[in-house]
């Protein structure tokens, strides 16, 4: 414990004795009437995500059709069945051979096109990273305007793990050339599907 005490003592001795009050942080809300789902879609696509065109079809049917083309699929969404089961004691690394994972996001953020995936949405956190592709369902009623509103959500105070995911894994570490699927998922597809409680 002595390093702890030494560090804190030095911090106490050295911290500037200046009045620096903590400011109020406004919400910077967008103008009333802003179409949040439309803003979300635009931001989401700019971040490299895609929203498959469902036409007149039920989006869940479109998801099922996409799933039927992949050998190994895993779903955390009751409406969709995959062929790889998942339980809360599934070893995290064992999800590496999944081609497509399906999850439902807790909420979305219009400003950044992010979806919030929590440890409950994922059940096993690596479901968000080890599959080659990820499909996310989002209730359009659960879109907040910006990050200030997003951090008012209860998830941050109850979950041990939550991620704001905005598009697929991406890198441009070599000469600025953008490549999706550097380490995590190669694609992120989103479907608006109202939730049962939403």
């Amino acid at each position: 414990m002595s390093s702890r005490e030494d560090i804190l003592a030095r911090v106490r001795a050295h911290k500037p004795a200046l009045a620096r009050p903590l400011p109020q942080v406004p919400f910077f809300d967008p103008p009333p009437g802003t179409d949040l789902p439309a803003t979300f879609r635009e931001s989401f696509v700019r971040m490299g995500g895609t929203l498959p065109d469902c036409g007149q079809d039920d989006p869940l049917d479109v998801v099922r059709r996409i799933m039927s083309t992949a050998p190994v699929t895993c779903s955390r969404v009751p409406e969709i069945r995959g062929n790889r089961s998942l339980s809360d004691d599934t070893p995290p690394a064992s999800l590496a051979d999944i081609d497509i994972g399906v999850v439902r996001a807790s909420f979305g953020v219009a400003e950044t096109g992010s979806v919030c995936l929590t440890e409950e949405d994922l059940l096993v956190n690596t479901l968000g990273y080890l599959p080659q592709h990820l499909i996310v369902l989002l209730d359009p009623a659960r879109i907040v305007s910006n990050l200030h509103r997003a951090y008012q959500r209860p998830e941050w105070r109850s979950m041990h793990y939550a991620v704001l995911q905005s598009g697929p894994s991406a890198t441009a570490d070599i000469e600025g050339v953008l490549v999706h699927g550097a380490q995590g998922v190669r694609s992120l597809r989103l479907f608006f599907v109202p939730g049962h409680d939403g």
């Binding site: 804190l8 030095r10 911090v11 050295h14 911290k15 500037p16 620096r20 009050p21 903590l22 400011p23 942080v25 406004p26 789902p37 879609r41 635009e42 700019r46 895609t50 929203l51 498959p52 065109d53 469902c54 079809d57 989006p59 995290p92 690394a93 400003e111 950044t112 992010s114 440890e119 956190n125 968000g128 990273y129 359009p140 990050l147 200030h148 951090y151 008012q152 941050w156 979950m159 041990h160 793990y161 939550a162 991620v163 704001l164 995911q165 598009g167 894994s169 991406a170 890198t171 441009a172 570490d173 070599i174 000469e175 050339v177 953008l178 490549v179 699927g181 550097a182 380490q183 995590g184």
Partner: protein, 508 residues
């Protein structure tokens, strides 16, 4: 509100005009010719780093210099577009600065608050005074858990601590999971930039490194091929590593949360795949409340890369089910810096790299020329706090043009602090001889206005001569490869004397 219907919303997705996310360049860049990669500064014990010499080598590789400059300037311009897209940008900068200054002036309180909350959530909290203690704590954790391989996400703090070398000596394999950092690891080089660690390399350099270390095709320098090869080769190592290590961008005292921002999702892979999770965190990263967090998340990636947010912004508040989570809070000189009246606000830095992307010296000389963990404008302030003698030449690797200060999202007065270091180094006799002469000459001239005016009023004006001497000597990197603007035909004082002064009936 339109589009509450799922089926409407799922139709006709919009198409992006330009890919502005992640580190992606918004203009096409392509190196044209193969050219050997210039190496960075030579580190020779405590000898002062010869930044200018290393910069000369970088500039002597025109293809590297051109790409580096273009790539970083593109990031700077993307940042500007994001800034103009947010009406409250300056409010956010002010808030970020105020929150950080509040947190730093109450740092002991917020560190203790974080520790209490993190412990309540099941996180093990350790404290490390310096690099050695940091490395020792992690090694003992790894030994306790029988860890042979650790997967790691990019962390400047661990670079500061010489973590990789230490682990190599201790028999633990460390695998970097960020592509740029992995390239640097395989090439046995330090990262050259806090956000884009391999930005100084051309695709041909990467092809060469991967051919040598991963057995890829040496003649194939296609970026997609190289990235895919790295993914395929690294994945198996990730899957059976026994521990994962990340850094942290922000630490929220109120909730005991730490936040990690990446574009590749590699921090999440490192944290969520193996059973043991460790995070190395500098003590200055703490912010008070959850509501403070959006201020920083909104600024970080916009300032760094010109994208609204990183692809992954991950929040860890406790261990996952069946996992174990350890946090190491590291001082390593930060508490001393807090007491440096002129320099303590440098601790506000959120490591976005914007000051590097805009700095003419950094863009032309490459990050490795600084021979230090932190390069570019912020490095010039931080590095001398680690070793005043070794890094004594760095505060001179700046034009003091103030561009860094203008872009800094937490409003650090970077160029003033760099100037402050020059004064401190002069007062403590850490100036190399040549610089002493220059400073004395310039100081004498600049402190005697009449003499200065006479000097610049002569036909061979000071803009031609004094600055040439100051700018084009070997010690000032900026002067290499550029010209000063043509001097005006008359000086301001001459113009003023001829125009305004006579009108007002006053002599100049």
């Amino acid at each position: 509100m339109s589009g509450a219907q799922g089926s409407d919303l799922n139709r006709n997705p919009p198409h992006p005009g330009r890919l502005d996310h992640a580190e992606g360049a918004s203009i096409p860049l392509h190196s044209r010719v193969r050219e050997a990669q210039p190496r960075g500064a030579v580190i020779n014990g405590d000898q002062p780093i010869d930044q200018a010499g290393a910069a000369e080598r970088f500039i002597a590789a025109p293809e590297h210099e051109r790409m580096h400059d273009a790539r970083l300037w593109d990031l700077r311009q993307k940042r500007d577009r994001q800034m103009h897209g947010i009406a409250e940008w300056e409010d956010l900068r002010r808030l970020a600065s105020e929150i950080k200054e509040h947190a730093l002036t109450h740092l002991d309180h917020y560190l203790e608050q974080f520790e209490t909350n993190a412990r309540a959530n099941g996180i093990h909290v350790h404290w490390a005074q310096d690099a050695d203690e940091h490395n020792a704590i992690i090694l003992s954790l790894l030994r306790d858990h029988g860890v042979k391989r650790l997967i790691k996400s990019k962390s400047m703090l661990t670079e500061e601590c010489g973590f990789r070398d230490f682990m190599a000596e201790s028999g633990v394999e460390v695998v970097e999971t960020d592509l740029g950092e992995r390239i640097q690891q395989l090439d046995d080089e330090a990262p050259s930039h806090v956000v884009v660690p391999a930005v100084h390399k051309l695709r041909s350099d990467v092809a060469e490194v991967f051919a040598r270390t991963l057995g890829t095709d040496p003649d194939d320098d296609d970026v997609h091929y190289l990235t895919e090869q790295q993914r395929e080769k690294t994945r198996p190592l990730i899957l059976d590593a026994q521990a994962g290590l990340t850094g942290a961008n922000f630490v929220v005292a109120e909730t005991g949360t730490f936040v990690v921002c990446t574009n590749e999702g590699n921090a999440d892979l490192s944290a969520n795949t193996p059973p043991l999770q460790i995070a190395s965190i500098g003590i200055e990263k703490v912010i008070p409340r959850l509501e403070d967090l959006p201020v920083f998340v909104r600024l970080l990636s916009r300032s760094a890369l010109g994208s609204p947010i990183t692809q992954y912004t991950s929040h860890f508040r406790g261990p996952r089910r069946g996992g174990e989570l350890h946090v190491v809070l590291v001082d390593n000189g930060r508490s001393e810096r807090l007491g440096m009246e002129q320099f303590w606000t440098s601790l506000k830095c959120i490591r976005c790299g914007a000051c590097m992307n805009t700095c003419p010296v950094f863009r032309r000389s490459g990050g490795l020329s600084y021979g230090a963990t932190y390069a570019g404008p912020i490095g010039l302030i931080i590095d001398p706090t680690f070793n005043r003698h070794r890094y004594s030449s760095l505060p001179f690797s700046s034009t003091l043009n103030g561009s860094c200060t203008n872009v800094c999202p937490v409003r650090i007065n970077i160029h003033e602090q760099i100037a402050g270091w020059r004064r401190v180094l002069a007062e403590t006799h850490e100036l190399p001889l040549m610089k002493k002469v220059i400073m004395r000459e310039a100081g004498h001239l600049l402190s005697h206005p009449a003499l200065y005016r006479t000097a610049i009023a002569t036909a061979d004006s000071a803009l031609k001569h004094l600055p040439r001497f100051m700018v084009y000597n070997r010690l000032n990197t900026w002067g290499h490869g550029r010209e000063v603007p043509a001097p005006p035909r008359e000086t301001f004082h001459q113009w003023y004397a001829a125009n305004r002064a006579t009108k007002k009936g006053k002599p100049a």
